[in-house]
């Protein structure tokens, strides 16, 4: 039951993009086509799950143990950057087909604040290891859901007639606002 609450809360109620404002850059950047946004979503889910495990181990076995919690930001960002690089190399060797599918999105993930955000949030929330992974994967699913929904809307928006000043990012932001409003309907769920 507890896990169920974490999953629903992270996917719908506190959606990572639409209510916590993490990962807006890829949200606005790669959401032009449904297909690419699916790829990005898969890559983020993959990296976030690994990050959750690594961040949990680092937080409890290194930072807290040696009383150096103030080094958190530096340690996490370095580890994530190295991790993304490593995932890329391993995927290239082990599973070329998966690498083909996720390849171009992996370098972009280092600068995705949702990944560093999830590491810090897990450290703050005092989850145990399994809860951390469930939480991270749910957040990533929420990210993918918002991305795919948004891409579907944007594909149609391309063809619409609108004032020149509204084209591109402004109309995308306003659309995201309305989408966020729709997601607020979930807020009583948990």
């Amino acid at each position: 039951m507890e896990y169920f609450v974490i999953v629903i809360g992270a996917i719908f109620v506190n959606n990572v993009v639409l209510s916590q404002f993490l990962g807006i850059c890829p949200f606005l950047g790669v959401s032009n086509k449904v297909e690419t946004s699916l790829g990005m979503g898969a890559a983020v889910t993959f990296v976030m799950a690994i990050t959750a495990v690594v961040a949990y181990i680092l937080q409890h076995c290194v930072l807290v143990k040696y009383n150096i919690e103030y080094m958190q930001t530096i340690v996490f960002i370095l580890v994530i950057a190295a991790l993304v690089q490593m995932v890329e190399i391993i995927l290239k060797k082990m599973s070329p087909s998966l690498y083909q599918a996720l390849g171009i999105f992996l370098p972009l993930i280092t600068t995705n604040c949702a990944v560093l955000g999830v590491a810090i949030l897990i450290a703050q929330k005092n989850f145990n290891l399994l809860e951390s992974v469930v939480y991270a994967v749910s957040l990533a699913i929420g990210f993918s859901l918002a991305l795919v929904l948004f891409a579907g809307i944007r594909e149609r928006l391309e063809l619409d007639d609108m004032p020149k000043a509204m084209k591109g990012v402004p109309i995308a932001l306003i659309t995201a606002g309305i989408l966020a409003m729709a997601f607020m309907g979930f807020s009583g769920l948990v």
């Binding site: 639409l18 209510s19 916590q20 404002f21 993490l22 990962g23 807006i24 850059c25 606005l28 103030y70 080094m71 958190q72 930001t73 530096i74 996490f76 960002i77 370095l78 950057a81 600068t111 995705n112 604040c113 560093l116 955000g117 810090i120 949030l121 703050q124 004032p163 020149k164 000043a165 509204m166 990012v169 402004p170 109309i171 995308a172 932001l173 306003i174 995201a176 606002g177 309305i178 966020a180 409003m181 607020m184």
Partner: protein, 195 residues
């Protein structure tokens, strides 16, 4: 480009929020009021200026291949400094901004300026560039915060301007997207005319 232009270009021509559309997460996440926007902008500006200075000083020492990780470490160190200072001196603001303070590390504006400007210019110019872009970012955040605070709770910087409850939606998440979207429309209209 003269020294004054280095500072002023960040306000309109290369405004990080409205013209370049960088650093969207803190822009949307922290601007629930004008004061919060100002605080976040100031913290980012501080990191931007100092990291620009240090990166331009050490640019010849760092091998080209590892420059991005090196830049990130420098930026992360200054973010930690800001984080600890804010926790000590403005604990209320620190609590409101929350996770967005450590997330200054991954703000694309800072790494972008390090790569595009500080790694090619001297320390003084880099400091001015950091000041200019930082001011532009702070102004955008303060304006967005002021608009959301005015529409959402009827006050600016905590001073009440009209009675009543205001439209709560502007303080919540959807209002951030919508307010920024319309501000961008206004910005595009104004800059298109001046060209």
């Amino acid at each position: 480009m003269n020294k004054l232009q280095l500072i002023t270009k960040g306000l309109i021509k290369e405004n990080p929020t409205f013209a370049l559309v960088l650093g969207m997460c803190p822009t949307l996440g922290t601007t629930t009021s004008a004061a919060n926007g100002l605080g976040m902008g100031a913290a980012t500006m501080f990191v931007l200026i100092l990291s620009n200075i240090v990166i331009s000083l050490v640019k010849n020492v760092i091998p080209d291949k590892v420059r991005i990780p090196a830049f990130i470490v420098i930026i992360a160190s200054f973010v930690t400094v800001v984080q600890l200072c804010m926790e000590a001196f403005v604990p209320d603001l620190y609590a409101t901004l929350g996770v967005f303070i450590p997330l200054i590390v991954v703000n694309c504006i800072i790494l972008g300026r390090a790569e595009a400007f500080a790694s090619k210019n001297n320390a003084f110019d880099s400091a001015l560039d950091g000041l200019g872009i930082g001011l532009g970012f702070t102004c955008s955040l303060t304006v967005l915060g002021a608009v959301r605070e005015l529409l959402g709770s009827g006050s600016i910087f905590g001073a009440r301007l009209y009675e009543g409850d205001g439209m709560l939606i502007f303080v919540l998440a959807p209002g951030a997207f919508i307010a920024l979207g319309y501000l961008m429309v206004v910005f595009n209209k104004l800059t298109a005319k001046s060209k």
